[in-house]
Structures are given as C-alpha cells and as structure tokens.
C-alpha cells in the first residue's frame, strides 16, 4: 500500500509540469483573477457594505425608528402587495405564452415571441408613460374611468399594471428555451397512456419545468420589488400613513426620503430592499444547483 501511495505521490513530481493547452501562464492567471476581484469589490461589495454602513450611521435606534415609521411600513406593504399580484399574474401569463409557443403551431407565433421581449427593449419610463396616456385623466379610457370613479393612475392598480408589464418577459423567457428543448414527446407519451389535457399538464409538463419556472419567478420577483422607472411615472408619490396605503413603493420611498435630506433614513429603507435582494440571490443559487443536478 505504501509503495503504491509513494508511486502515486511521486508521479506528478516525476513529470515536468505540463499545462493543459487552454491554461494561461500563472502571471496571466493571477492578473485576470486579480482584476476581476478588484472590479467586483469596487463596484459590488463596497456599495453593498455602504448601504448597511450608511443605514446604521445614526445608530440602531434611528434605524428602527425609520423602519417603523408609518410611511416606510406603508411602502413595504405596497411593495409586497404589488409583487403579490404582479408575480402570480406573470407566472400564469408566462406559462401560457411559453406553452402556446412551444407546444402548438399557429399563425402569428413569431410575432408573439417578439412581443414578449418588448418590455425588455422599451425603457421603463416609457412603459409607465404609456399607461398614463391610456388610463390617465386625459387618456383614452380616462373619462370613462373618472365617470365610474375608478382610479388607475396615481393609485395602486396603475402601480401593479406597470410592474406587471415591465416584468412580464422573465417567466416566459426562462420557460420557452427549456420547453423547446424538452419537446412534445413526454406530453404525447402521457396522452397515449390515457391522460387528459389537464392531467398531462399537472403530472408531466409542470414537473418537467418546475425548476425553470421557479427560477423565472425568482427573477421576476427581484425585478418587481426594485422597479423604479415605470412605477415612478404612474405613482404620483403619495406617502402612506397609518390609516392609508400611499402610492410609494420601497424604491420610490427611498428616493423621497433622500430628496428630503434624510440620507440615513433612505439607506435604512434601502437596506430592506438590499436584504430582500440577497435572499433572492441565495434562492436563485439554490435553484440553479437543483436544476443542474436534474440535468445530469
């Protein structure tokens, strides 16, 4: 045993150090790794730390006071309400769109595929503006909405609509390549075995795309929480209070605190959003690991 171990130990030393053909020299390697690390810390880690350092600049008492302020609580509540509606809607729309595109052939399929990407290519501010033009007081449906006492713009429905629009592509974009790669054979197999349409969806399609769907939902959620541009246009920036839900989401409220020279308060609330983002990243990493294992 010892002799074998010795041979194994000796082998690398006996050969001249050979690099794999694609490996760089140590100098180049360290230069590349080093510059990547410097870049990462300057542009990602330092700002991340700065958020928390600034948030606690006036001590934990002030931090807690900011977070328990009715306006802050209202903003957090509104953000959760918005993602609570926008994310499930996009989950269903995204699934339906991906299903239609990958499992059926119909005229206009290419147009639909292109349209799904529209929210990615249009500036969020423009997206918000479009909703103002359609649903605002001077917009197409404005007079009708006013007559029926329904408020969309400068109210919660507008914020939900704008968020849904901006985050629409995430689920569909994630699912389309996955479902295309999987093809229709599994569904066909289930159908031949006697499975109806819904049964096939719940028992075959959904389990097959489960991790991809969850990944898309996570990304969609992350974007929905942080969306600023489109929401800013339709919101009207009304601070909420103890008894009324305003139209400020977390990002909008952070800005309003900052504009009112409450820098520490702004960072305190920003730390909430940052924390949620970190949770999302952890979740995303976990899903990616699960997905990778499934592909083996």
């Amino acid at each position: 045993m010892e002799a074998i171990a010795a041979i194994h130990a000796a082998r690398p030393a006996a050969q001249p150090a050979r690099r794999s053909p694609t490996a760089e020299s140590p100098f180049v390697r360290w230069l590349l790794i080093g510059s990547a690390l410097v870049f990462l810390s300057l542009f990602l880690v330092v700002p991340l730390l700065a958020v928390f350092v600034q948030a606690f600049a006036k001590g934990p008492g002030f931090y807690l006071k900011t977070l328990t302020d009715p306006a802050t609580l209202s903003a957090i509540k509104l953000t959760f309400l918005t993602i609570g509606i926008a994310v499930p809607m996009n989950c269903i729309f995204g699934l339906a769109a991906a299903w239609a595109i990958t499992k059926f052939d119909f005229p206009g399929k290419n147009i639909l595929t292109t349209l799904i990407d529209l929210p990615f290519s249009v500036s969020p501010v423009i997206s918000g503006l479009v909703y103002v033009l359609v649903f605002g007081a001077q917009g197409w449906f404005g007079p009708w909405l006013v007559a029926h006492n329904i408020r969309v713009i400068f109210a919660v429905p507008g914020i939900v609509l704008a968020t849904t629009f901006v985050t629409f592509p995430f689920v569909a974009r994630e699912l389309i390549p996955l479902m295309q790669a999987q093809g229709r054979a599994d569904e066909e197999a289930a159908r031949v075995l006697g499975s109806g349409g819904w049964q096939t969806f719940w028992r075959v399609t959904l389990p097959n795309i489960k991790w991809g769907l969850l990944y898309g939902v996570t990304l969609c959620n992350a974007r929905a929480m942080g969306e600023f541009g489109a929401v800013s246009v339709v919101s009207g920036h009304i601070s909420g209070g103890t008894d009324a839900l305003g139209t400020n989401t977390i990002p909008l409220h952070v800005q309003s605190l900052y504009d009112n020279y409450n820098q520490t308060g702004a960072f305190a609330e920003a730390s909430v959003l940052t924390f949620l983002a970190l949770v999302t990243i952890a979740l995303k990493a976990w899903i990616e690991r699960k997905e990778a294992r499934l592909k083996l």
Binding site: D186, A190, V192, L193
Partner: protein, 358 residues
Amino acid sequence: MSVEVRNIIKQFGRFPALHGVSLKVESGELVALLGPSGSGKTTLLRIIAGLEFPDTGEGRVLFYGEDVTDMPVHKRRAGFAFQHYALFRHLDVFENIAFGLRIRSHRTRPRESEIRESVEKLLKLVQLESLAKRFPSQLSGGQRQRVALARALAIEPKVLLLDEPFGALDAKVRKELRHWLRQLHEEIHVTTLFVTHDQEEALEVADRVAILREGRIEQIGTPEEIYDYPATPFVYDFLGNVNAFAGRVHDGSVEIGESKFAAPETVGRGDTDAIAFVRPHDIHVTRRPGGPAKLAARVVLCHAAGPLAHLELERLDNGGRFTVELSKEQLHQLAPKPGERMFVELRNVKIFPEDYSI
C-alpha cells in the same frame, strides 16, 4: 383484435407524407413498417395512435373493426413506444410504468394493491425487477426502452405501436433487444406494429413486413416472400446488397454485354432493355472460361472479415463493379489475387423493365 387503416392521406404543409395507404394487421400479428426516412412510416404509426389525424374524410382507422378515426388519442388505448423513450424523468421506473393506471378516473382506476401487482408483473416481463426505484437518467438506453415498453403494456393496449424502438441503441444492444422483442411477442401476443429503417431487423422480427416508399406501400408479405420475390426494384434494392446489370431481355434470357443468362420469367417477352438484379450470394466465381454463360471480370478487392467473404469485381467489357459473397472455404479454394481475371456465372437473375429505377 385486428387493426386496420383504410386509404390514409396525409400532407404536412406542401410535403405529402402518405398517399392513400391501406393496411390490415391481424390479431396477434407482428408487422414491421420498413422504409427509408421520409417514407411516411412514422406518420402512419402516429395516425394509428391518434397523435396525428388523416387529412381527408375517407381515411379511416379501425381497431377490432370499430372505427376510431375521430376518437381522441387518450381514449384509444394504443400502447406507443417512442424512439427516444419519452420516459417521465421525474418519476422512477415503477411510477413510470404505473402512470397509465394511476391517471385513470376514480371509477376505472385499479386499487393500489392491483397497480402494484401489475407493475411488478411487467417489471418481471421486461427483466427489470431490480431497477424499480431507479430514475430514467440512471438507466442505459436498452433499459430505458424496456421501461417504455412496460409502460405501454401497462394499460393493456389494444395494439402496440413501436416507433424505431431500437433506433437510438448501439448495434449489439439492438440485436439483443430484437430477439427479446420477438420472445416477448410470443409470450403476450399483442397485435404489434413496429417502424424501422433496418431491413435486417424487420426481416428477423416480423411476421409480415410492409415496405413503404414515398408515402405508399410498395409491397407487403412475409419476410421470405419479400426477400425472395421482391415486387419492385426498390424493394429488391432496399432489402440489401444487390448488384444491378443493365442488359437486354430476349425471350427467356438476358444478355449482359457479350454474355447470356437464363431469365425464365421473361419467356415470351420481346426484345427490350432491362435491369437484371442479382444478389451477391447468387454469383458463382471460377477461373474457367465457359463460353457465353459467363462474364469476364477482374478482382478489385477482397474483404474476408466475418463468416462470409466479399469479393469486389470489375467487368472487363464496361468497367461496371459488382460484389460477390462467398464462404470462407470457397475463398480459400479460389484464392483470388487483386488484378486477376475471373469468370462469373449469374443465378436467380431478377429482371425489371428499364423504366423502373432504384
């Protein structure tokens, strides 16, 4: 328990896949649909399963004489095995096989103990008892296809449809599974249709073989009939190694170059151009010249790997090449050398008029 299709026409966009195909598979029979890719064999199978529908109202699919043309796929109870298995990757082997039983409605679903019992019986039938808890990704290709077969059999199908079942496997496993499929068929006798582009597989496994070409059935018959009496040059060529000689037919014989061979089926026929087909094992090679009944040729190559040897020869008159198959002993006796002149005699010459082409 017969399965029948009548006058099936199917077109994909502008590409015609089937031009009025009719076929009847008798109860308990194993029929192979053989043809090159694009001949429409898979489309026909999918139409029988209900995964595709025939184009016109005339096309009919019948199970046991009952018209199922308009019946949706999940009501037909056809067992289908896909070329790439299509196993459910999130379910283990046991649950894959049980799938067709578990999805039944409350009224028709067997009890848990019955499901367990029938799945175990099927696992035994496909010789995978020890792998019940494995997931598809942990199985070899051959094992996956056996699971797919067991899954298809679990619903007690009226007909078993296999789409290139061994197409994605390597040569050795293909051969093993081919024998196993034949044995399985002897055991369970379910009416089976299977699609393949491998003539050896079709001839070895099937009771009858239907040869498809460009959406039409070219010939149907037992493997022996098909091999010995090919109806068209296409069938002749598709079934394997064949040599084609251009010649002229004249009342019971065929002239190839300077030589003349017997062709009894042309008795009474006038003077026409024709193609003569001869299988490589129907050519006899000697060194002795024998007058007009022999053709002179030069040895080009000699392959001797395997139980049979193959000799490639070149005609001296026009340089046309052909292959001869002979046993190892014959090869040793003959001991041909490249470049050497030989004389060949053609037997079982099959004549088709010139306008046929392969």
